[in-house]
Subunit: 155 residues, 2 copies
């Protein structure tokens, strides 16, 4: 099952409302930075950061960031992938919101959380638009507070 948010992005009012709902979740968490993985997490991640007055930090595929990076490997359904973040992007103690459009198996989001914690910062929530509730994403992120705007339970 492929859930795709591009039809939602097409509608300016739906786009704005989605960012507002994600920002509602961030309220009271005193978020310093939103961190999101390329590429789909960037679309709402940058907008969410701006909406809540936070900075935005991209987690990217290897070799895409120009300065020194920290890296984490993570398992895919078939094989292994890696994400990188600028080493100096986060200071110890910074409060981070991890975002992606879709929570499926949770591998990508968990890798982002690991990058954040390896930098000495703290994950104060994970915010998704869509969660596939029949996949183990939420279990992969059981150490964190997880919020999804929409959950599909059908398999």
């Amino acid at each position: 099952m492929f859930k795709d948010i591009t039809p939602l992005l097409l509608d300016g009012r739906a786009l704005d409302r989605t960012i507002a709902l994600l920002a509602d979740y961030a309220t009271g968490r005193e978020i310093d930075f939103v961190v999101a993985a390329e590429a789909r997490g960037f679309v709402l991640g940058g907008a969410l950061a701006a909406r809540i007055g936070a900075g935005f930090i991209p987690a990217r595929k290897p070799g895409k960031l120009p300065a020194a990076t920290a890296s984490v490997d993570y398992a895919l359904e078939y094989g292994v992938d890696a994400l990188e973040m600028h080493s100096d992007a986060l200071e110890g103690g910074a409060r981070v919101l991890v975002h992606d459009d879709l929570l499926a198996t949770g591998g990508t989001a968990r890798a982002v959380c690991e990058l954040v914690e390896a930098a000495g910062a703290q994950v104060h929530g994970c915010a998704f638009v869509i969660e596939l509730g029949f996949l183990p994403g939420r279990r992969q992120l059981s150490s964190y507070d997880v919020h999804s705007l929409i959950t599909y339970d059908g398999g």
Copy 2:
């Protein structure tokens, strides 16, 4: 020379101000959609669309979009690349703002403009954060109105 906007994104106030300046450029152009290429164009492209009440359309590398796509090939410094957009994303006559973080040789932005026009829509401006003025990006986009927040003239 590699110009990188990730330090700017880190600063919530600078991020917000950058989106506001891009939105200022869009004012009066009655933009229906912002179209941006993956991955870096997504960070501010989504935020810009939300800020001006427009929809957002991603232009992606081949094979990344789930529905039927239109495609365009474009030259890189060494080789060829391609971008795809959902075929049904744009209707004829829609007014589009093309965005990317960086205007260098202009190949990517021009490919995005070609996708937009192939769909029967119109490019009503191209907005960048950084322009490398010693490269032919602006010449590549001479059919369009081009706006950059910062121009570097040094080579």
